[in-house]
Amino acid sequence: MLYREAGDFKTTYKEDNQTFPIKFDRYRYYFVLIVAFLIIPFWINDYWVNAIFLPFLIYSIAAIGLNILVGYCGQVSLGTGGFMAVGAYAVYKLMTAFPDVSIMIHVVLAGAITACVGVLFGLPSLRIKGFYLAVATLAAQFFLVWIFNRVPWFYNYSASGQINAPERTFFGVPVTGANADSWATYLFCLIILTVCGIVARNLTRGSIGRKWMAIRDMDIAAEIIGVNPLSAKLSAFAVSSFFIGISGALFFGVYLGAVEVGEAFGINKSFLVLFMIIIGGLGSIFGSFAGAAFLVLLPVLLKNLFVAGLGWQPDLATHLEFMIVGGLIILFLVVEPHGIAQLWRLAKEKLRLWPFPY
């Protein structure tokens, strides 16, 4: 009754082509933005931001990036951790070399640097496909981690090899470093996420998105009809690495503040972001958010349930957490292999017709 297309007439091309053509969708989107920007910052505290919101926001950006590469363009990549490391180290070098430039510019530049690196490591995709490509991107992952460990210039010759984010401000409010307030870090990441989300959504709706999807579905046929596979695949790697680089820069600068490359950007990170997009739904921007939320919230929820709620010993709780996460992933895949986004789509379709069955 509320969620209707009937009676909603478009009179301009602009209205017809908008991202959310249905009024209810549009209003829902504005509502989420209002809550996220205007209500949550006043209500959160350190724990919520540092344990839940920041990881969610940051992993969402990474998931959007990887979804563009894997979900929209069909190139399976396991190098996400390495690319996040590139973003983190790029922003660190920029922050320490040019302390007066705004952090926002540094983050965007870090993304651009990561995009260049991503194009370089994406070259094998022109020849290799499928799981073989996935394992090839692992070469990127391990090599990048090794190089950040080995070359002292990257960590400014410090004795231990760890990098620390110095304090930087955005419009006078500190967003990196220990003195940053939780609402400031939250808003900073939220702004970047919103912009990234809008950019990604529009890229995937546009002609370049269609080219990516053509390559994903049947790349030989795509080539025949005139899609240049070189530019499509490399642009997918570039855009994807841009987002992943930004997420890596935020992960280091805003969320953790200090990283050690082997532990923070290892292969576990690559698999984690891949899980997020598979569970959330490949080829869907909403799916990236959903998957990130699922994999960030679930362990925290389980831990609080078992340890704080039931008072179990922490190691039993962790073992059970693993089992439950694994079990839920399997259950999810059996029930809905196309991810949370598919469930969401189905729900919306049913709601559009409600209370009629069809």
Partner: protein, 427 residues
């Protein structure tokens, strides 16, 4: 960071009102994950000691201790989550038990005004209390460990290592790279040849590295490893017939779980220690009575007396002494987070104090000051006796070459201060 203070009567025996106040001690242990093998005994000791204090003494100064154990799995993000979830409870001191998490938490605890004690790990230059107001790493840290190890070798070689060849087998991570600068300086000073051999995480495969050691035949191998790297290294050393007495691991590479898998061939392996080990301390009778027999042991109760268990027992003891000192200074039993830092800075561990608490000679006597948060930097060497299944101390507490190390600490902490705009204190 809210903390309820009991009214006026700072007399700690507050039996009149139901006790609202307690001493909150968070414990960021890792019983799962890649280092669970070391983490499990490490997690047990601290928890058992505090349980003992509650059961036997009713807490510290009459105020019960509340332990908040939080599982990090040695993962930095979980460490952040643990920190954020426990800091609001009024945590007095954090033991991150992981160098990665320590680096993470250093700016955070400084901004939040909470103490952090990274005993024998973490950021070495935090020993400079002038820059790192909240961070403590007494009684020793990685650079002093490396130097103490070299001093042990000097003693073994009548004071000269000229012409000798020492190989450092290290875990290719921030942890493993810690001693490199110190060892390079020491190699210039004492004229020994230093070879650096990295081992990639997790260190399951070390064939190339040990073939290299077999070819080059260094006189000594010093190991900076953790986790599976230790077990594999000891096994490979035995396989290539490297003499075990010339193989010295640092204090995270010298526990029972590192040597037992290799069996008898590990006999003679040496390890640096900052505290003594074994079950000969008087406190074990109390732990057996009040904790294990009462069924309140943190783990399965089978780690008593092991190296890691004793180390975290020692950590708990030092925390206990710091709280007692803080209670003394402030006159209240229910100390605040700022009081804890004062207590830690005024800490003075004497032999009498250690004996009084059933841990006679567990470690060296030392004191902490505002400028020196790192303690004396002493390390001893112990050796594994495979047939007896025990570690035995084979040297006294050796001093490190502080003349060489202090400038390095200064340089590193000044670089940190510059990057983060911190001005010196204690002036």
């Amino acid at each position: 960071m809210k903390f309820k203070l009991l009214a006026a009567a700072a007399s700690s025996i507050a039996m009149a009102t139901p006790v609202l106040a307690d001493l909150v001690l968070p414990w960021m242990s890792y019983r799962t994950g890649p280092y669970a093998v070391a983490g499990i005994p490490l997690a047990d000791g601290y928890a058992d000691y505090l349980t003992l204090l509650n059961e036997r003494d009713g807490g510290i100064g009459g105020v019960p201790v509340r332990l908040l154990e939080c599982e990090t799995g040695y993962n930095t993000e979980k460490g952040v989550e643990c920190y954020e979830s426990t800091k609001a409870e009024g945590s007095l001191v954090y033991h991150p038990l992981s160098t990665g998490i320590t680096y993470q938490l250093i700016p955070k605890v400084t901004a939040d005004g909470i103490a952090l004690h990274s005993m024998g790990y973490g950021r070495t230059s935090a020993a400079n209390g002038k820059i790192f107001s909240n961070i403590f790493n007494y009684p020793a840290n990685y650079w002093t460990a490396a130097s103490a190890g070299v001093n042990y070798l000097l003693n073994e070689n009548s004071g000269s290592l000229d012409g000798k060849h020492i190989a450092l087998l290290y875990h290719n991570s921030a942890y493993g790279k810690e001693p490199i600068r110190t060892l390079e300086e020491l190699s210039k000073k004492h004229k020994f040849e230093l070879t650096l051999i990295p081992v990639d995480h997790p260190g399951q495969e070390q064939k190339s590295q040990w073939l290299q050691i077999r070819r080059e035949r260094p006189d000594y191998v010093i190991m900076w490893g953790f986790g599976v790297m230790n077990q594999v290294a000891i096994q490979e050393a035995a396989n290539v017939r490297f003499p075990m007495e010339n193989f010295i691991g640092n204090w995270w590479a010298g526990a029972e779980h590192d040597v037992i898998p290799a069996g008898d061939v590990a006999d003679g392996y040496k390890s640096l220690v900052m505290n003594d080990t074994g079950s000969d301390f008087d406190i074990y009778a109390d732990i057996q009575k009040y904790v294990v027999d009462a069924g309140k042991a943190a783990g399965a109760g089978d780690n008593l007396g092991t190296v890691m268990y004793n180390r975290s027992l020692y950590m708990a003891f030092l925390t206990h002494m710091a709280i007692v000192k803080a209670q003394e200074i402030t006159g209240t039993a229910d100390i605040s987070q700022a009081d804890m830092i004062k207590g830690m800075e005024a800490l003075d561990i004497t032999d009498a104090l250690m004996a009084e608490h059933g841990l006679a000679n567990v470690g060296p006597a030392f004191s902490v000051s505002c400028e020196n948060h790192g303690g004396p930097g002493l390390g001893a060497v112990s050796q594994w006796d495979a047939s007896a299944g025990k570690w035995k101390l084979i040297s006294g507490y050796l001093e490190a070459d502080m003349g060489l190390i202090n400038p390095l600490i200064q340089a590193d902490s000044q670089a940190f201060a510059k990057e983060n705009n911190i001005s010196e204190r204690c002036n």
